[in-house]
Amino acid sequence: MGFDLNRVIRGRVWKFGDSIETDAINPYYRYPTMEELKQHTMEAYRPEFPLQVKSGDIMVAGRNFGCGSSRPGLVLREVGVAAIVAESVSRLFLRNSISRAIPIFVAPGVTGIVEDGETLEVDYPQGVVHNPASGKSVTVRKFPPMIEQIFECGGLPEFARERYLREAALGKRPKA
């Protein structure tokens, strides 16, 4: 599943604080299956989240989003989160999201322009995150071309597969 960075994403905001950790996003120790995870993601912060989140919603968070373990945030995509926009993102969560093509954006100042329940617009091609109601916006950080390409491919395994096919066509790849 490729993710098109050029599409503008617009959705209702769920707002969270600083240092939201992967144990809350993906409490897999307690809920090992995806079906269970979907019912419990983020409940440590907002018990209503897993019950009320709708497809197309946007998560806005403070600094250090996704700190903690190397667990991915796939469950957020599964419950319909269309984009995550944070003041800053922990490096491992950012890597995780890039490598699975989960739409994640770093936009310093974002928590100052939007409130919980409001609508937010992420316009990556223009490099802005925008609150249509208030007219306020902040800049969204651009990824380097290599990372944009990983998003386009749909993630790093897909990117790896493309490389594999390319090299196979060239007769490379000696080891079986």
Partner: protein, 429 residues
């Protein structure tokens, strides 16, 4: 033209850059990987990713079966049928792909076993699909956690993209007291500077305390690099590093040292002589307070273990505190050595006997005590633990309270039945 002065991270990634071009903080590159630590996710998710991305039969090969280390640490001995089945799948995959370094019949935490078996060395770039892979910095290795999908790419190609991190110099000065203080140091720093003070940066430890710090303490500090956001957390290579590696590896290595004049994003100094005992209160690592502020908080459980504090010196201090005394009535004091090798050393030194006589429980090495697997907590219960994390629900109930502290603070609390300044119960500190 002389090469620009480089930090340890810049040197590490320059050495591993596929194009061999020197890199600086901020640059993106593709790097050659020296070793890949792959733990329990070696099967299901990786296989699923392979199939989803078009490799119908699963991962077609691995880049180098001798540089991939599969350690089934979180999930053994199998704690459920599901995990037993997963472990069997991992075993099949390892056989199919020809991976030679495989431990699935020895309980222990992967990161400690990587050190025990000398599977990483100074100057190497070693990745793992677990956040605490960063702990290898204790041995001057560039260890860092990556995602599972990153690991998929590494297994195929032995290469991975990185952004060169800016570096932060953490200068530690002072005396080494007669008990481990690594946990207090990192908690204190997180309290002072925030739980992401090293966010996406590389920590370089230096200062007059460093040569005095044991490898165990360095591992605690490096492991906790991730709790303050770091990509690498490295110590210089010295006589202690060499002594640790002697007999564990016979491969040569090239240590990393920063160049004089290398550029740092920031510098933090701490004189540990002036540092109080501290704890992190529920539910974040950076929620730090001097232990006196929470003294008197009754506890139900105390724990020592994990890739942060399950090492010999952590267990030794607990034994020293408890020798001839008893754990407070009603307190569950759970101790889990980080690996079989650590466990054996504790047994041979008589520590286990002392601990059992005092009423502590010593459980199988592994990650269980750091997770809601060994020692679940109920609503309203309070735990003080020398493990990695105190997130809500980390020990089961979302309504349990978890405090993090050093092994000495934990042992003192186990003895008193409440959080207490260790100086109050142990004399001559």
């Amino acid at each position: 033209m002389s090469a620009a002065a480089q930090t340890m991270a810049e040197k590490l990634l320059t050495r591993h850059n596929l194009t061999a071009k020197p890199v600086r903080a901020g640059d993106f590159l593709e790097a050659r990987i020296d070793g890949a630590m792959c733990h329990y996710h070696a099967s299901d998710p990786l296989h699923e990713m392979a199939v989803q991305s078009g490799f119908k039969e699963g991962l077609p090969r691995v880049w180098d079966p001798d540089r991939i280390f599969v350690l089934v640490d979180h999930h053994q001995p199998a704690l459920s049928q599901k995990l037993a089945d997963e472990n069997a799948l991992i075993r099949r995959e390892v056989g199919r792909l020809g991976i030679r370094c495989f431990h699935d019949a020895e309980p222990g935490i992967s990161h400690q076993m990587m050190a025990d078996y000398g599977l990483m060395r100074p100057g190497e770039l070693v990745v793992g699909n677990d956040s605490h892979t960063i702990s290898y910095g204790a041995l001057n290795a560039g260890g860092t956690g990556i995602s599972r999908a990153d690991m998929f790419y590494v297994l195929l190609y032995g290469e991975l993209w990185f952004q060169v991190p800016p570096s932060i110099k953490v200068v530690l000065d002072g005396r080494q007291p007669k008990y481990p203080i690594a946990k207090d140091i990192i908690l204190y720093l997180a309290g002072q500077y925030g739980d992401d003070f090293a966010g996406s940066m590389s920590i370089e430890y230096s200062g007059s305390l460093v040569p005095k710090l044991s490898i165990d303490s360095r591992m605690c500090l490096s492991a906790h690099g991730v709790e303050v956001g770091a990509k690498f957390a490295m110590f210089p290579e010295d006589e202690k590093t060499r002594a640790f590696l002697r007999g564990r590896t016979d491969k040569s290595y090239e240590p990393l040292a920063p160049d004089p004049g290398a550029e740092y994003e920031k510098e933090i100094r701490l004189n540990v002589d002036e540092m109080p005992f501290v704890v992190a209160k529920p539910h974040q690592f950076g929620n730090v307070a001097p232990v006196d502020e929470v003294a008197g908080t009754k506890i139900h459980q105390a724990q020592i273990g994990s890739c942060a504090n399950g090492r010999y010196e952590d267990i030794e201090i607990a034994a020293r505190v408890l020798a001839g005394r008893k754990v407070a009535k009603g307190v569950r004091f759970i101790i889990s050595p980080a690996s079989q090798q650590v466990y054996l050393r504790c047994v041979k030194a008589g520590l286990v006997e002392t601990l059992l006589e005092a009423g502590a429980q010593v459980v199988t090495p592994g990650c269980g005590v750091c997770q809601p697997r060994v020692g679940f907590m109920s609503d309203g219960e309070v735990c003080i633990t020398a493990t990695t994390r105190n997130f809500k629900g980390r020990k089961g109930s979302l309504n349990a309270e978890i405090y993090l502290g050093g092994p000495l603070t934990v042992a003192a609390a186990a003895l008193a039945g409440e959080i207490v300044n260790p100086r109050k119960v142990i004399h001559g500190l």
